[in-house]
Symmetry: C2
């Protein structure tokens, strides 16, 4: 994309309403615009990041064997009355009456609707196990929306639901989700620690939240510092293998790590003192096993091998897709702006022309742009007639991890400058080598369609 | 995907509530499930087709230089009061009150919100031309929703908005949209004819609807039969070239083609009698030029080259993404089921194993499956222990354009059967040749990430 043809409304001033760094930078980098309290439009740069994150979530869910569906945002209140949650949910549920005076609601979660789909179409244990998920807009009418997309009212979320014949199978689904979530976050350059949590209105016995450590987190967390040394990395995991998935779950949850809701001071004190940590965290996902809580009242049963009717064991599992945009910025920025991890960056590389209008500089930039595009990369070329300082400030603010700087002086020596946003380090090298280097960096971050 | 691990709830019986063929087949093929009047869940097969169509729309919009954004489904009523449409819109607008008694609405279209984004960030003619679009869920509270996704209440739509300095530039944007829409529909295997139409509540002078001819269409249309002979085909169009885009627009709109709203019997009678046609059509898109209708009342102005403040010229342009799923089925089916065009088929190819459990047949199917996957294709392998007749009926119903049938008898002669869903013709050939043939067929339908 050439910046002269793009819509990137960066702000020089820090908007006064933004209290945390991700909200400030998302507004300043022209990623979002508030349209009502807790409700945002995603401008081109923000949309690209949102779609990158969505793409990674889809890829990792499908890799785990989960099947994508899409449920509507507007749901009938009837199903929620059947489960008993319509009255229980409280004022965070946005309730609506249509022109025929029927009660609708904007889905905050979809246990009821997916259970209805299941009971309408599945009747035999032979069709299990089954896990379906969606990535869809949700609404929670927060009394005090704040922190930009981190605690908005309309938000984008992946919610998945497993249906299993036995508790053991459902716990495997729980472990499988844990593994797939770890892989998902690591691909985004994030460390998200599974912590024992409270189940809240979803219900159920077993639940873990995934938390990104950040000073601006809304949750207080307590953990053994050794937990931050564990990585999933490039392990080859067979998602059908119960033992493999359980082993990962046990490895990641053996050490103490809890939110304040489930914190146990006695257990915490057994950690060696130098490893005791209390900090703040941002919740970016949660997994639940809740057994037959919905299947029993809603009649979601299958015929077992012996012909008897059995209510299925279920769990639900969420990833905050729009919230992750903010969480990644909280975890990766400096005082100049955002620093995108390669896996989610909106453009792979920036190109800064130090002397727009100079024949050689323009030609070199065009050539680099074409070469990057030819290898499947998506550069942002700042082709405006602006001062170099302004161009650098914009690139630093929007946080592309790599920048190629092209100027007449370097070109005389046959070189351009390749700069890492993260370290600030620059190297001079011939243009074709810069392109090659960038292509190598992204070879391991291949992702789907770009926007 | 192996069918044994998929969720494809096909129905044997035709649901009584479905009046038109696309609705019947979408229910029978397990593509959708109604959750409330005019509100549907997209089951796995339906979701895949919806995403294929969405992908083509995105690709063609970006190819035309239009920039994707995403606006929220919930909008504040304030902006709609500013334009005067809040009261004018009538009961089809779903109106909502939040917990703080503020008026919200579920967006039926987004002229106001995009104009607000524009006026907040753009102030100079140098930032024009600019066209932004989104693909987002909309809601219209139809008094009598019907025909499945063809006239639902919650629907998925691409809506785009152009901002230009002059009327001439805005008319170029209009023509550019027309060209990009023609290309979009052709990639989906559809002929959609631009017809002069009425502007309705969007407003404006110039507007064309795109109609797919089908007996079940809700619109009555009148046209010169010669209009159906025109194709865009593989022309190489420069979307920045005003003359090229205008020439395509003139070519496609020179002949008489109108909906009943703008039908003119006198003009129609001037067509040679043997070319006069009246028929039914399904509207799958519409483009509008409406000048300063929104920019003037909402103060969306830019500073022109002479320093004077000028209200921008605008248009808006829509494609019914979820409706297209139904429209394509209306245009392409037979009495056994759907016949997907290659561009939007949910799976590229079906594999039917005539004797599941037979060692050689199973091994051959696994090998074909792996070979198709290795070349980037997405097959559906019916690996269930079912009769061949049942497997064929399911494949015919869900409409994959190509099927490879594998059985012990053929394998003895080193061949499998490759069958076209459209023609019913089969050829016998070695498995590796069948894979090669399928790969060749899809080489021209390369599309993004599959679901």
């Amino acid at each position: 994309m050439r910046l002269s043809r793009y819509f990137l409304p960066v702000l020089k001033e820090t908007p006064s309403e933004a209290q945390i760094v991700s909200h400030r930078y998302m507004l300043r980098a022209g990623m979002i615009k508030q349209s009502a309290a807790g409700i945002y439009s995603w401008l081109p740069l923000g949309f690209k990041v949102l779609k990158k994150i969505e793409g990674i979530v889809h890829e990792e869910q499908m890799r785990a064997g989960h099947i994508p569906v899409l449920m509507p945002t507007m749901q009938s209140a009837d199903l929620w009355r059947e489960s008993g949650r319509y009255d229980a949910y409280g004022e965070e549920m946005l309730r609506i009456t249509d022109r025929h005076e029927r009660d609708l609601l904007f889905t905050p979660t979809a246990e009821e609707l997916i259970t209805d789909i299941f009971r309408s179409h599945v009747s035999s244990y032979k069709d299990l196990p089954l896990t379906m998920y969606q990535i869809q807009w949700k609404f929670r009418d927060e009394i005090r929306p704040r922190f930009g997309v981190m605690r908005g009212r309309e938000f984008y979320m992946k919610d998945g639901y497993n249906f299993d014949l036995t508790k053991e199978d459902a716990l495997h689904a729980y472990n499988r989700h844990l593994v797939s979530y770890l892989r998902t976050y690591e691909r985004m350059g994030l460390q998200a620690i599974p912590m024992r949590a409270d189940s809240g209105p979803i219900g159920g016995d077993d639940t873990h939240e995934f938390l990104v450590l950040a000073d601006t987190g809304e949750s207080e967390v307590f953990y053994d510092s050794a937990v931050t040394d564990i990585r999933l990395g490039q392990r080859n995991i067979d998602y059908d293998d119960h033992d493999q998935c359980r082993a990962v779950m046990e490895e990641f949850t053996a050490l103490y790590a809890r939110t304040d809701e489930t914190h146990d001071a006695t257990l915490f004190d057994q950690i060696p003192a130098e490893r005791q940590r209390s900090a703040r965290g941002i919740e970016v996902g949660q997994i639940f096993y809740f057994g037959t809580k919905y299947s029993e009242p809603m009649g979601a049963t299958v015929q077992g091998p012996d012909g008897k009717s059995i209510p299925v064991h279920m769990g639900s599992h969420g990833i905050g897709v729009s919230r992750l945009v903010g969480a990644i910025i909280e975890a990766s920025h400096d005082d100049k702006g955002i620093i995108w991890p390669e896996g989610v960056t909106p453009f792979h590389c920036g190109i800064v022309n130090l002397k727009q209008g100079d024949e050689e500089a323009d030609a070199a930039c065009d050539k680099i742009y074409a070469a990057l595009t030819a290898v499947g990369l998506d550069p942002l070329y700042d082709d405006r007639k602006e001062r170099a300082g302004g161009k650098f400030a914009t690139m630093d603010l929007i946080g592309l991890p790599w920048r190629i700087t092209v100027g007449p002086r370097g070109l005389k020596n046959g070189v351009v400058e390749l700069t890492s946003r993260r370290t600030g380090e620059s190297v001079e090298l011939p243009p074709e080598d810069a392109v090659k280097r960038i292509a190598e960096i992204y070879a391991e971050h291949a992702s789907g369609r770009g926007f």
